[in-house]
Symmetry: C3
Subunit: 248 residues, 3 copies
């Protein structure tokens, strides 16, 4: 049994953040709030998601683990305004979503239908960069004009995103004063870079694009860690994306 | 010979109301105005249409029955503004539509190309409900998220729309004070309901959605009657939609 | 070696004007500015293009002839604002486009990959008409409702565009006072007209539609000449379109 009230905006943003990685998500309904850790079918990308009870208008749970049909929820929530309060009840494999004059009852998925939770790899990044979600989304869009891959990296305290296609290249550079923040845990002079699939970053940038601040943890051929807040800081989303081998 | 002047808005709305049921319509050009009664090819839905001479800026007719290519008219009228006065002339199987600097001449269809006019079934409804066109369109959209069918009905003086899909359900309830009007001709306590194909209601809701008031006549497994005004009350549109058999 | 700075707006409009006729364009980078003359693969339509050095913020050239991949440039320039200054550098078969924080390097095409420049036919038109680009675009759109061809012509000092389909016709007439200008070099009473493929005019009308003034030179079954300014009068675009044989 789970019973909660949540702002349309928060619920929509939460579902979107998860749906970028998976269509069906295993979600923990715990005392302190809900959390989830899901990997995409190819294990290239992963999402860690947390939403504190503070993000809810009302919250009551028996501590369960459920499996949500995110695509169906997203489709239904298209009808909810961002300012609507959505009433969510979960009982005996049924979820009820009520808002305005509407009441939907949808089936939960079988917990056996999705893979078990992935382990989060230990990543030691060399640079920590903070930019606006808007700038991140823009750069990903710009890279897609010439390539399927994008390299993220730093030289000194300049952050760069670079796409190299068959004949064409794109490079975006943001120096320290164009960034919200940049810090390096290694020798500053050296170039750090890793290459990633644009396909996943394009998807992620849809959720990321709304965030006022996005943190990027970058190293040498290690997974990229992308973090941002939702629900006015009462929730966090962290994506991990495996690097590609860069051919020199 | 027919010669008339009509506001772009009224002509567009009239064509749209008809085109939801048929692509080609038999239309009577009578002394008091124009009227039409057409059924869709499967005879599941029907439209009755009336537009008084008061809806025209100028009107002159020899009393004819013509067959219109609605899709072509709709395509051409996309170029007319709602405030344009459209000059319509019909003579010897040719229709002329003039507005702005443009003049179109299009062929009328052969009167033998379409089926004869359907008879209007005698329907004794148990409940009469009046809601806004916007609310109706919204409910139809909400139902489409989970099913291909929608039930319309009343319990006491609460109106409901309910969609039941394979695993999921949607229910919208509007009590008496959320409706413009509701009246029952039978015992109020009993539930009345009929099931309809969403496919037709989605189409109808495009024309209905603009109406400030829509009347719904609902009974027990009988056709739904949907009525609304066009042309500032100088025209009426009535749709009849056959019910589906509801499986318990 | 070529190095220039140009307003995003001017560069976008220039590429668009050319791309309507060809995907790849041979362009001359001369001392006085850039110019190009390209025909479409079927030789039905041709564009003459000129952009004076006055249209640039900065301009430096070694006088070269290059071959541009217009579609790729257009795709990249979608990201540039109309008010951005775009830095263009061409060196050793590479073109660099920089604006905002972005820098693109794209390959030039081989000069042997496209046909040689077409000769401009000598056209003696009978009527010269000036209308707004908006009106031109509108008429082309209106003609497309009924036909694949459009006739442009004059009767006395009335300009007309006429489309004749299988069963339907469209006619737009603009008298002298509805036109910006009209002048005739032949006997005014006679009708002049030529028939053209709408396919090309629809494409052209995308670039033409933005121009405040468009000049049309029309004769009897001779090519149509369409001229308009870009870059605040510091550039000109002229399209030539071969006529179709009109069947009486």
């Amino acid at each position: 049994m789970f019973k909660a009230e949540i702002l349309g905006e928060t619920l929509k943003d939460s579902i979107e953040a998860l749906t970028i990685i998976v269509d069906e998500a295993r979600v923990h309904l715990a005392d302190g709030g809900i959390y989830a850790r899901n990997a995409d079918p190819s294990y290239v990308a992963m999402v860690e998601f947390e939403l504190s009870v503070k993000a809810f208008e009302a919250y009551e749970t028996d501590e369960e683990v459920i499996t949500l049909d995110l695509k169906k929820m997203q489709d239904i929530l298209e009808l909810a305004n961002r300012t609507d309060v959505v009433h969510v009840t979960i009982d005996e494999n049924k979820m009820t979503l009520s808002f305005g004059d509407l009441k939907y009852t949808i089936a939960l998925l079988s917990p056996y239908s999705i893979k078990k939770e992935p382990k989060v790899p230990n990543v030691e990044s060399a640079a920590h960069v903070v930019i606006t979600g808007k700038e991140f989304r823009w750069a990903v869009k710009a890279a897609a004009k010439v390539s399927d891959n994008i390299a993220l990296g730093c030289v000194n305290t300049t952050f760069f995103m670079e796409a190299v296609g068959d004949a064409d290249t794109m490079r975006l550079e943001l120096s320290k004063d164009q960034l919200i923040d940049i810090s390096r845990s290694d020798a500053k002079e050296e170039e750090v870079r890793s290459l990633f699939s644009l396909e996943f970053l394009i998807e992620m940038s849809k959720a990321i694009g709304k965030a006022s601040e996005v943190s990027l943890d970058i190293g040498r051929n290690i997974p990229l860690k992308v973090g941002f807040d939702i629900a006015d800081g009462n929730g966090t989303v962290t994506y991990l994306l495996a690097p590609r081998i860069e051919q020199e």
